[in-house]
Subunit: 188 residues, 2 copies
């Protein structure tokens, strides 16, 4: 999505809306889905959302980017080590996990405005995980029975599915399950 050229004041207002959206969605989750309802929930005029983010999906994608940002910033960190920690952090913000899962499910039809956003996000994470497994194999830390790409697809699916199941049944522990699967999949 192309970004509008914003004045410094406009940039500040945009950042403020994004911060409110992150806070409110983290606290209350993603119940309301229309542009109007999101605006009401955030206390922001729908026209302002459209001005700064072009569409409701534009705003929600930015919320997911902001949620991803701390992990993206640690691009030299061993992803398979920090990933379970990310799920531990997510367990404190179920509203954002809900937003992510519900929007990904919504966006799974090819004509959805966020379809490309999720397709690119999956591909990027899949490459990062596969690269990390390849590096572990070269360094002799990992001796997997499956290819690095298969492991990447499995772990991403597991992470998504564990968080969905946890939202519905909080008795499960996504972080410890993911940690256990990473061990099982990278051992000989």
């Amino acid at each position: 999505m192309s970004e509008r050229v914003l004045t410094r004041k406009g940039q500040a207002r945009r950042a403020e809306i994004l911060e409110t959206a992150l806070k409110v969605l983290a606290e209350r989750g993603y119940r309301e889905t229309s542009l109007r309802a999101i605006g009401r929930e955030l206390g922001i005029e729908p026209a302002h959302i459209l001005h700064y983010f072009q569409s409701r999906e534009g705003l929600l994608e930015e919320v997911i980017r902001a949620w991803d940002a701390p992990v993206d910033a640690q691009n030299d960190a061993p992803f398979l080590q920090i990933w379970p920690e990310v799920l531990e952090r997510n367990a404190k913000i179920p509203g954002l996990v809900h937003l992510y899962t519900a929007l990904a499910a919504e966006a799974s039809t090819p004509d959805h405005p966020s379809h490309d956003f999720f397709q690119n996000r999956y591909r990027r994470i899949r490459r990062r995980v596969a690269d990390e497994v390849d590096r572990g194999m070269r360094e002799g830390r990992y001796v997997p029975a499956l290819s690095s790409d298969e492991i990447a697809v499995m772990l991403i699916s597991l992470s998504d599915g564990l968080q969905l199941q946890w939202l519905i049944d909080p008795s499960i522990n996504p972080a410890s399950q993911l940690r256990s699967a990473i061990t099982r999949l990278t051992e000989p």
Copy 2:
């Protein structure tokens, strides 16, 4: 949800609406979410949906029950063997996979009308998979490193997550990935 007592004619009409819903949702997926939009999509008056299914969620839950029925009927079959075949069958009806995933994500807030439906469904499948792993262990076919319940939670998450990822990126193959994970998790 308690069922209305229906005349034979009423039962036939209810079955007919359910059949239409299954067909239309399998073909076109779950794009429209309001009762009115579902009615329009199915060519059925919203009042008829409410009369026969009490709510939009009542109808959608029945669609998921009908989708589950062939697997539930094979309750003596080795579930870990038929599960990948179920994903192969699902690959031909992405609309229903989409409905299932989107409704589960929607229902993850505790106050959603379908929350209990999904919570019970997860628990039922989790028990069936864990029982199956326990039986395989007693018969010496499985020698897993994890507990049967952990394996059940992981495989369910994997199945959900693989299908979500496949909806967004059809290059992945959920059935073969699940088959491979079942082997990895039940081996010594």
